[in-house]
């Protein structure tokens, strides 16, 4: 019995841990997306740092740009994305 309770707790613990990790992963992706968006702000009409700063950083931002493009493709279904992260429904 005790063993079963322990196993259930471990299962719960693992579940919560997975949700936390997914939340950190999602937050990281969002931060990287916004970082790229800020630097490319001049192209999207947002307040932006001087253009040259964006150009100077551009060679090192492949990952962030890829994330930004993926995120903008998924913008139509942003709630589904967040419900998935928070494991609702």
């Amino acid at each position: 019995m005790l063993k079963k309770i322990k196993e259930s707790f471990l299962l719960f613990s693992k579940g919560f841990r997975d949700i936390s990790i997914r939340a950190i992963e999602a937050e990281l992706k969002e931060l990287e997306n916004v970082f790229a968006l800020i630097l490319m702000g001049a192209l999207t009409g947002m307040p932006a740092p001087p253009s040259y700063l964006g150009i100077k950083l551009l060679p090192f931002m492949e990952r962030e740009l890829r994330i930004m493009i993926c995120r903008s493709e998924a913008l139509g279904d942003i709630f589904a994305d967040w419900f998935d992260i928070l494991d609702f429904g």
């Binding site: 950190i24 931060l31 970082f35 740092p49 001087p50 253009s51 950083l57």
Partner: protein, 311 residues
């Protein structure tokens, strides 16, 4: 380099004439002088009476002049970035991104950046070779943007660095939990490894260096050129107020073309504006009616205000 002179003012007030005259006078006093025009609509060589050529021209043993090609610096920046991108990006990503440069080169702010780069480069190149560097600047709007650019850049870099630190913190948390595959093998997780962070620090250093030069009152002298007409005087006040926001002050006011009309100072408005310049040292240069371009008055003009500048 003992001093760096910037000539500021509304278009047409005589910045090039005064900058050229100062440079010629200083070189005649046996000082080594470099003069550069960063105005995209150059006429420095026309004033000095030499034919236009790219790169620095040695006019005499101790007098060098250059009209800076601003476009060259934009092209240089884009070329450098493209080369780095080709090296760092995956092939397919590169194909999509390369076209962006056609848009970026016309982005707002690129011209100011190119001029700032030109300034940085020429100061760096000539500071150990000459006694004085004289800069003939573009009219007010553009020049103010150049003065403001390092400060604006520093404000942005401060925010971007904070943002980047947060990203790196999250990445390192994931690496701690899941190992390197949690973020990807080549992905940087600390400031020392992150090339974006390093580039931000590099740009921060550059901006601080140029801002230090701009705001050093011992080395960098800003000369405001005005005429006795309401518009140039009002613009002069605007320059003083704008520069004060970034703690840069005007060292000398040169009222050029004095006597171009006889009645102008009887206008109360103009007299009131002139009163606002009272705290700044002032020199008046007469209007030379007999000359279209007062080229043979260069020594006389330079001599008229050099004393105020160097004392």
């Amino acid at each position: 380099m003992k001093k760096l002179f910037f000539f500021l003012g509304k278009g047409g007030v005589g910045k090039t004439t005064l900058a050229g005259s100062l440079a010629v006078y200083l070189s005649k006093c046996l000082s080594k002088v470099f003069i550069a025009s960063i105005d995209p609509a150059h006429n420095l060589f026309d004033f000095l009476g030499v034919s236009a050529k790219s790169g620095p021209i040695e006019i005499s043993d101790n007098f060098i002049a250059e009209e800076i090609d601003v476009d060259l610096y934009v092209k240089k920046l884009l070329k450098e970035s493209t080369q780095k991108m080709k090296k760092n990006y995956h092939y397919l990503q590169m194909i999509n991104l390369e076209n962006m440069f056609d848009v970026l080169k016309h982005s707002p702010g690129m011209e100011e950046y190119a001029m700032l780069c030109a300034l940085e480069e020429l100061i760096d190149t000539w500071k150990s070779q000459v006694d004085y560097i004289v800069i003939d600047t573009p009219p007010t709007g553009l020049m103010l943007k150049i003065f403001f650019l390092p400060k604006t850049t520093l404000l942005w870099i401060e925010k971007l660095k904070k943002f980047r630190k947060k990203i790196l913190e999250r990445r390192s948390q994931l690496v701690h939990i899941k190992g390197k595959q949690g973020v990807g093998e080549d992905v940087a997780c600390c400031e020392e490894e992150d090339r974006v962070f390093k580039e931000l620090e590099n740009q921060e250093k550059r901006s601080k260096e140029i801002l230090d030069i701009f705001s050093n009152p011992e080395i960098c002298k800003k000369i405001l050129v005005v005429n006795y007409d309401e518009l140039s005087l009002r613009e002069g006040i605007k320059i003083i107020n704008e520069l004060a926001q970034i703690d840069i002050s005007i060292d000398l006011l040169v009222c050029n073309k004095k006597g171009i009309t006889d009645s102008i100072l009887s206008d109360n408005d103009v007299e009131n504006i002139v009163d606002k310049f009272k705290s700044i040292k002032k020199v008046e240069i007469p209007f030379y009616r007999d000359y279209v371009t007062p080229r043979n008055k260069m020594i006389e003009i330079g001599k008229a205000f050099v004393k105020e500048l160097l004392c």
